[in-house]
């Protein structure tokens, strides 16, 4: 059992390639509990926090590039980023306590591939992309395409996420994330909903994304909800259609955190509320 802390993406890739039982980690907030419960038993742990690219945030006219291992606390306390993406920050800020926030990362939250991961619906609502590095070089894929089911991803052998890219937010656009948990903090979403809407000068919705967490094996987008919103003024009728579409999109499970009925019903409520919150932000 070895710990290694590479300083370049290439070294990390080599470390991953050299041992089949190697595993990358950033904050270890999921890795340690999984090791402790015996669910995973990595032979080598590759700490990504020594790689500058993975721990830095940059922005240009087109996009934000967020290192996959950047602690969510560093991201959410960035005044520029949080002003532009308050919804994404809300979501990232819900991943556990302050103690966790100083370790957890967007990359880790994504690659742990929990359907209930809080930051993922918000990233999906914002059309975020993942920059993936691996033996075959780099590729860029939609964040939504990384998780393929609970605990599994589309990452190939030796691949890992280097950064999350989010395009600069267009004008008159707002986004939001809401979730339901029994406790106010330190909890896993029973249902989560992300939304982003763009409004024109008449208040008509010109673009919308609605995403749901914890209601299917992966985070899902809700095209019918988005269709119901676009072209509307987000009036009650459109919002009701959005809620109904969100509920209809659910294929959840019964588990110790919630029932199929509950998740299905509340997904609609949360989707509607997330859209309302996003619209308020879009209106400024």
């Amino acid at each position: 059992m070895n710990y290694t802390s590479p300083t370049t993406v290439e070294e990390a890739a080599a470390a991953l390639a050299s041992t089949p039982g190697a595993r990358v980690f950033a904050g270890a907030t999921d890795v340690v509990p999984q090791m402790r419960s015996g669910r995973i038993a990595p032979e080598v742990l590759v700490d990504l926090k020594g790689i500058e690219e993975l721990t830095s945030v940059s922005v240009d006219d087109e996009k934000w590039t967020i290192g996959a291992a950047v602690a969510t606390a560093r991201l959410t306390e960035d005044p520029t980023f949080s002003a532009e993406f308050p919804g994404l920050c809300e979501a990232a800020g819900l991943i556990g306590s302050d103690q966790i926030q100083n370790r957890s990362s967007l990359g880790g939250n994504l690659c742990n591939a929990s359907p209930a991961a809080d930051s993922v619906p918000a990233m999906v609502a914002n059309h975020a992309r993942a920059v993936v590095a691996g033996p075959g070089g780099r590729r860029v894929v939609d964040v939504a395409d990384i998780p393929t089911g609970p605990g599994s991803t589309s990452l190939g052998a030796g691949e890992f996420v280097v950064a999350i890219e989010v395009d600069r937010k267009p004008a008159s656009t707002g986004e939001a994330y809401l979730r339901i948990t029994p406790r106010t903090e330190m909890d896993i979403a029973i249902v989560g909903a992300g939304a982003r809407v763009t409004l024109d000068e008449n208040g008509v919705c010109t673009a919308a994304t609605v995403s749901l967490g914890a209601v299917a094996p992966t985070v899902v987008r809700v095209p019918d909800a988005e269709a119901a919103l676009v072209g509307s003024t987000l009036d009650d009728e459109a919002l009701a259609a959005c809620a109904a579409a969100a509920s209809a999109m659910c294929s959840p499970i019964d588990d110790m955190r919630g029932t199929v009925e509950y998740r299905t019903q509340v997904a609609g409520v949360l989707a509607r509320r997330a859209v309302v919150a996003a619209a308020e932000r879009a209106r400024g």
Binding site: Y3, T29, V32, D47, S97, Q99, I100, N102, R103, M186
Partner: protein, 159 residues
């Protein structure tokens, strides 16, 4: 198998210890360094009893691998008092009866220090959310929140 040598700063002193690669910082602090102030309540980052500051940020020592401490600055509850003077948070916890059994107290003090270092005048709600990662089963939190408010006031007066 030979053990790894880790150099770091703990509570203001340069320190080093030997560790297995997969040992947690919490176990290294307790077993190798001999600092027993950080406690294990869960081992999974859910209770905050092992809270320490790493480079000024509050984290759960149970979720950190000991080799990650290389070159870092660690502060535990044992490092809060300034020689003969208690930290205002420690004094406020005593005066407000903000502890009963005391097992969670080290973690609360460390997390509260992290809060006040970045926000000297937090609201009650901000304190409650900042300390939500620290479980206390004895007090119902009421007196802990009041102690943090008192300490914040004291620190602002001292500043």
């Amino acid at each position: 198998m030979s053990r790894r040598h880790v150099n770091c700063t703990i509570n203001g002193d340069s320190a080093d210890f030997l560790t297995e690669d997969f040992t947690t910082l919490l176990n290294a602090l307790r077993d190798e360094v001999g600092l027993m102030g950080a406690k294990e309540g869960c081992g999974t980052g859910d209770c905050g009893a092992c809270s320490v500051l790493m480079d000024g940020h509050v984290t759960c020592a149970c979720l950190i691998f000991a080799p990650e401490a290389e070159g870092r600055t660690i502060v535990t509850v044992e490092g809060l008092a300034d020689h003969t003077e208690l930290h205002p948070l420690q004094q406020a916890f005593l005066e407000n009866a903000a502890l009963q059994c005391g097992i969670c107290t080290p973690g609360f003090l460390v997390a509260a220090k992290a809060l006040l270092d970045r926000n000297p005048d937090p609201t009650e709600t901000e304190i409650r959310y900042a300390l939500a990662g620290n479980l206390c089963r004895c007090t119902g939190y009421d007196k802990i929140i009041r102690a943090v408010q008192d300490a914040a006031e004291q620190l602002r007066a001292n500043a």
